[in-house]
């Protein structure tokens, strides 16, 4: 809850998964691209400020990925669809699925 | 401006430029010399340590020279940074205006090397001092020595021996690898160690009574109990409550990473009849490659990442501790080990949150307790293997290794343990270890030969797996352990303990009736005949002449 986990899709794109509720459904989780929509740097989660931050040009995003301050204000981090099957969390990405170990990693969040 | 003035300015500037180029040349020459090891790198002694260096350069020039060659010196870490103590520490003493402590513990090192200290604290290395109350130490303290001083057997010409230190073997043997319980001399003639000082979470002693009793010289420097210091055992029990000694591997005062990367460094302790890891390594392809390609190992490099900075061969550090491109470095070798072959019967390295091995047998209970599985640990090791080997190759090796460990466990270790337990249960051997022959036999079997076999398989040394290992295990089991147990039973039966003797014999009979032991009683003529036949088919002639 409230923590974030970093993944890399098979195509190499960075994805941040965070748990934001504890209702026990797929809506608890959110999977966001870690690429800043401004100029392509990598954002990271700042737990102390409850925000995603891009160090390149001071972009700030709220926990659901919406830009709140800095140049990317009003833009959003890309969102990946999620689904839960048999207690495992899956991220739907282009091309191909995630490997078993990555799914295992996602499970640890719950 | 006149032309002549300009000319002279140009002349002056030209000379200055030339001087700057000469300076560059000089810098290059110095750099090359330092690189080639012909000149000492320039060291700026931190102001706080200048006085130490000035004085100790006279008294112990070696210490200062070692330090000058260290990364610490280049990065401005001087004497005081590590040896500084605070008012209230057990071992503090005033030394030319500084509060100094002699022993630098992992707690001191952790001021800068936090991650390394934490990993080390979780490691089995740091628990090496636990041996102080174990079976091995009973050997040194009682069997080999005596727990109290005793009178000499006779006079030693030219050397006045008033009393014999019965603990000498433990102090100079066991504890130099496993670590001592560092102690001060007490004013009443005893010793004061961590148990007396009772350090709090900050490492400062809470028992001021014990502190007051520490014997000191005329400069107020506390006096160490000579049996416990000097000591660089890896599980040393320090007076600030910390465990271990960083200098066990990172020898003071140069703290050379180069040395810690080489197998000889581990070889101070990981050798000998009971766990000859270094010899095993030297026999393996890994060790052979290292000996051949040592110059290509980039041992001096600041960053030493397998797959990036070197590829020539692995050392102990490469597989067990160092970084590779897929796995960060760790100071807990146990993070990558999937079996512990230390106990009589090998255990899977499924560990709990406290980094202790989970020994529960109930699967549900196991899952509850396990925080880090043996399989996860093995995967970390594989991440290193995979720099040179394909997944199929690695998995194949692990199958071979697992099979050997299981074979040893099931054919010899568990049966041997069962016989030993039965003898104890029936009162046919005493609780005291090493006072009966069969106890030595059993110790040889698992502690020496059994470990050699398992370690040999773990690091690809066939001779240690077989001739120094399983061969001797088998001989010890069939030719020594079983006959000795039978003899004990026979002796017991003759002395009115027929029932107990019967119980032991039943255990042995049941064991030997199992298919894997059947050959011992019934012979294996059928098998040799089959082999001879196969040989004949293969080579056209039998090994027939030989019988």
């Amino acid at each position: 809850m409230g923590s974030a986990k970093e993944f890399r899709t098979p195509t190499g794109a960075g994805v941040t998964i965070a748990r934001q509720q504890t209702q026990g459904s797929v809506e608890d989780f959110i999977a966001l691209s870690s690429v800043c929509p401004h100029l392509g740097c990598k954002v990271h989660w700042e737990a102390q400020h409850d925000r995603f931050y891009c160090p390149c040009h001071n972009g700030v995003f709220n926990p659901s990925g919406l830009g709140t301050e800095g140049p990317p204000k009003g833009q959003s981090l890309g969102r990946y669809p999620l689904l839960i099957e048999n207690g495992l969390l899956f991220i739907e990405v282009e091309l191909e699925g995630l490997s078993a170990s990555e799914v295992l990693g996602a499970k640890e969040l719950s | 401006m006149q032309l002549t003035t300009k000319r002279s300015i140009i002349g002056v500037l030209g000379i200055l430029f030339l001087i700057s180029l000469i300076f560059v040349q000089w810098m290059e020459v110095v750099r090359k010399q330092e690189e080639a090891g012909l000149a000492k790198p320039h060291i700026a002694v931190p102001a706080s340590s200048q006085a130490c260096v000035d004085c100790h350069r006279q008294a112990q020039p070696g210490i200062v020279a070692h330090w000058e060659g260290s990364t610490h010196a280049r990065k401005g870490v001087g004497c005081v940074e590590c040896h500084q103590a605070e008012e209230g520490d057990a071992d503090v003493f005033a030394h030319f205006g500084q509060n100094i402590a002699t022993i630098v513990t992992p707690r001191d090192c952790s001021k800068c090397h936090q991650k390394e200290a934490l990993e080390f604290a979780h490691s089995h290395h740091s628990k090496g001092g636990n041996i102080l109350a174990s079976l091995d130490n009973f050997l040194a303290e009682t069997v080999e020595g005596h727990r109290a001083p005793f009178n000499p057997h006779g006079p030693t010409p030219g050397f006045d021996v008033q009393s014999v230190n019965g603990m000498a073997s433990a102090f100079s043997g066991c504890q130099q690898c496993h670590g001592s319980k560092v102690a001060f001399q007490s004013t009443d003639g005893g010793a004061i160690n961590v148990d007396d000082l009772k350090p709090g979470p900050d490492g400062k002693p809470t028992n001021s009574e014990a502190v007051a009793k520490i014997a000191r010289n005329q400069d107020q420097k506390p006096l160490f109990h000579a049996a416990t210091w000097p000591n660089t055992g890896i599980g040393r029990l320090n007076m600030d409550g910390s465990r271990g000694s960083c200098s066990a591997c990172h020898s003071r005062h140069d703290f050379s990473p180069r040395r810690a990367r080489q197998p000889e460094n581990c070889g101070k302790c990981h050798l000998g009849p009971d766990h000859p890891q270094k010899e095993i390594y030297e026999e393996s392809k890994h060790g052979v490659a290292y000996r051949d390609l040592r110059e290509q190992m980039n041992l001096d490099a600041e960053s030493w990442v397998l797959g990036k900075d070197y590829n020539a061969a692995p050392t102990c550090a490469t597989c067990h501790m160092s970084a590779n491109t897929r796995e960060p470095a760790t100071h807990d070798p146990g993070e990558r080990i999937s079996w512990t072959n230390r106990p009589p019967i090998s255990l899977r390295m499924d560990t709990d949150a406290e980094h202790k091995i989970v020994t529960a047998t109930d699967p549900v209970e196991r899952e509850k307790q396990i925080a880090d599985t043996a399989e996860q640990k093995r995967q970390r090791m594989k991440n290193g293997c995979s720099h040179c080997h394909t997944p199929d190759y690695i998995n194949g090796f692990y199958k071979q290794y697992d099979d050997l460990v299981v074979l040893y466990n099931e054919k010899f270790a568990k049966p041997g343990m069962q016989i030993m337990n039965e003898l104890l249960k029936q009162g046919l051997r005493t609780k005291t270890d090493f006072d009966e022959e069969i106890e030595w036999t059993w110790f040889y079997l698992w502690h020496h030969e059994g470990r050699r076999a398992r370690h040999g398989a773990s690091m690809m040394a066939p001779d240690y797996t077989h001739w120094h290992g399983m061969f001797e295990v088998a001989e010890r089991f069939y030719i020594h352990l079983i006959p000795q147990a039978r003899e004990i039973a026979k002796h017991a039966a003759e002395h009115g303990k027929a029932e107990q003797a019967k119980a032991v014999n039943e255990v042995i009979d049941a064991l030997l009736a199992r298919p894997e032991h059947k050959w011992f009683k019934e012979g294996a003529e059928g098998q040799t005949e089959a082999i001879r036949k196969a040989m004949q088919e293969r080579y056209g002639q039998g090994g027939g002449e030989k019988k």
Partner: protein, 349 residues
């Protein structure tokens, strides 16, 4: 001797007097003051860059796998590698500084005005080429800054309407940083841009020679003195002095503050504090202040205005001949540039 002279003269039919006239142009008196020699400085440093750049290129490898390691090799192992690399880096810094100072001098003395408008525009192209060479230069090291600088730079291009995506693809050789990106930067840095600079410099100097150096008269000059002095050897000496001072300065900077090597590029993590080289502080701060497209377009607009300034200034002066507008505009621009640079330099984010 005569034999060789005649042989040469047959093949290069030029006489001594002609040669002297070509090279020994009379130089106006104001050039005795050093700050009028700033135009020669970048050209001089450019030669230093070519020389050191060729030496570095002997060892540099432009693939992402090898780039960082090869720069480390140059810095730590190759004989004098650290010195050559440090001189190259410092000469780049000084060259950009000299270009900016030269441009400021030309602007505030009005030397861009009729008939020299075109030469100002050539100068603007030189400025852009120099900045691009600096940018591609530090991208080659494959430090963290190199990687993220290149990524951000390419995405800035993408923001440009219509041709943006194409420009990004051309620069990165794909949609994102990949194996082919670094070789492109290397070709740009070591071949395309230097050749462009040589060509532009040729035009710049030819135009200067055709039109003559702008002449100024200072109040402390006596009217009856000759208004020109000889290029050779008098002005050459001045240039030599400037050159030697620069070489000494470079040597001192390279030895006292040698070029270092930051952490290797990590495509997975943008470092917490990341900044470009100082000459991009202005644009960096600008990008932080305004949203993407607005920031990029406004920067383009400002650059375009600078490019066309001689024509705009001409228009203004036609309607208000006494106007000092350009001076005020220049002062505001300089203050803005210095202010943004200092701001960016002073704070972490």
């Amino acid at each position: 001797m005569f034999g060789i002279g005649a042989w040469l003269h047959e093949r290069i039919p030029i006489r001594g007097e002609q040669l002297r006239e070509m090279t020994n142009e009379p130089v106006p008196n104001h050039l005795r003051r050093w700050w009028f020699c700033l135009g020669g400085t970048p050209a001089y440093l450019f030669v230093v860059q070519i020389a050191t750049g060729i030496l570095l290129a002997l060892y540099y490898e432009s693939s992402p796998d090898r780039a960082y390691e090869s720069v480390r090799h140059i810095t730590h192992e190759v004989a004098f590698g650290w010195y050559i690399r440090s001189v190259h880096k410092w000469a780049a810094t000084l060259m950009i500084a000299a270009v900016i100072l030269h441009q400021m001098r030309v602007f505030f003395t009005g030397a861009y005005r009729k008939p020299r408008e075109l030469n100002w525009m050539v100068g603007m192209c030189l400025l852009v080429c120099t900045l691009m060479t600096g940018f591609t230069g530090y991208s080659l090291v494959y430090e963290q800054l190199s990687y993220w600088g290149a990524t951000v730079g390419a995405n800035i291009n993408e923001t440009v309407p219509l041709i943006g995506p194409l420009m990004k693809r051309l620069l990165l050789a794909g949609e994102a940083y990949n194996q082919q990106t670094l070789p492109r930067f290397f070709i740009l840095h070591a071949a395309v841009l230097p050749v462009a600079i040589v060509g532009l410099l040729g035009i710049h100097i030819t135009l200067l020679r055709l039109q003559g150096v702008t002449e100024f008269q200072f109040e402390d000059e006596k009217p009856d003195e000759p208004r020109h002095f000889n290029f050779f050897p008098d002005h050459l000496y001045t240039e030599l002095i400037v050159g030697l001072v620069l070489m000494i300065l470079l040597s001192v900077l390279a030895t006292v503050f040698p070029a270092e090597l930051g952490p290797k590029a990590d495509p997975l993590t943008t470092p917490e504090v990341i900044k470009p080289e100082w000459f991009f502080y202005v644009t960096f701060r600008w990008l932080k202040l305004f949203p993407g497209t607005a920031a990029v377009l406004s920067m383009g607009f400002i650059l375009f205005t600078m490019f066309l300034w001689p024509l705009l200034d001409g228009l203004i002066r036609r309607f208000w001949p006494k106007s000092e507008f350009s001076v005020w505009a220049g002062i505001v621009a300089v203050l803005a540039i210095v202010g943004l640079t200092v701001w960016e330099g002073a704070v972490a984010h």
